[in-house]
Symmetry: C2
Subunit: 153 residues, 2 copies
DNA sequence: AGCTTATTGCAACCTTGTGGCGTTAATGAT
DNA sequence: ATCATTAACGCCACAAGGTTGCAATAAGCT
């Protein structure tokens, strides 16, 4: 039995692959790797985080710019959410089914930039003035996380 | 009657001046100008906005870095709030009395980065898990503002 | 007026993110 | 299976936002 090295690298992620294919765009190793990584992540990751996590594996690290483009593409395709953290750095997270993450609770650490999802029911959304187009709404709580609070007492 | 040019440049802002002096730090023209500007602003301003607004006047434009430092100092002194907008750029706003702005509603335009304060009563704050230190909480609503919605139909 | 030292201005640098362009490789057709 | 098409990739340089180091300046105190 002969299996190409290429096919083997994509095979472990059938769901990922089909989700990408469903958008009409091409299925590439970069997209599969990044999207899979976001889905397994605990919270939103920034470009730097992803670069580090990716460089650990056996596969060759992908180009900086390619990663930026893959992330922006995932966001544009609706497969990921893109939002700036408390330090002004963009973080990305996999977009579950739909709408689940749109009304969510986040705790943003102003020291390390980390984002923690608080799984709590959220209050109802208020009415917007005329002309404003809503994209997402979240209760944004800022402060210092337990880790950083320990380092800076 | 003789009045020094220096004193004349600070005289118009007695409240501003005493607020700065109350922090224990030195009262400088840069701090007075920037803090006065933030207090008169309609919404949170970014570094760029402030640079432009300042360069319009008769006084010589202050240094880029000095402005960054004045803004960070205002935030550290508790006279201003510092937060990243939807595009990841820091915006600053004058800190009114206290706590008023901490629980506030904002609409952040993902196209132009503009921030609009929505003066609406806000739902109550939830409990945080152990170890998390709260600094501020706001209902963060993202989307496209009427201006940008008109440009990109 | 003179002293002390917090602020300023300047220059260089860092990080995050984007645009241009030739090359590679994912897909559809042969 | 091979080929052609063109979306993605990799590499380059660049832009915007933000920070650090240090010499020169000017607030505030006596």
């Amino acid at each position: 039995m002969k299996t190409s090295a290429h096919a083997a690298s994509l095979a472990p992620f059938p769901a990922i692959e089909s989700a990408i294919r469903a958008t009409g765009a091409r299925v590439t190793p970069s997209r599969v790797r990044v999207y899979a990584l976001l889905q397994n992540a605990q919270g939103p990751l920034c470009h730097r985080d992803i670069e580090r996590l990716l460089s650990g594996g056996a596969l060759p690290a992908m180009d900086r710019v390619t990663l930026y483009r893959v992330l922006d593409w995932l966001a544009a395709a609706g497969l990921a959410h893109k939002a700036a953290d408390a330090r002004g750095v963009f973080r990305f997270s996999a977009a579950t089914s739909d709408g689940e993450h749109l009304r969510h609770m986040h705790f943003r650490c102003t020291a390390c930039g980390g984002v923690f999802c608080l799984d709590m029911s959220q209050p109802s959304l208020p009415e917007l003035p005329q002309g404003f187009r809503l994209a997402s709404a979240e209760f944004d709580i800022r402060g210092v996380c337990p880790d950083c609070a320990g380092k800076h007492p």
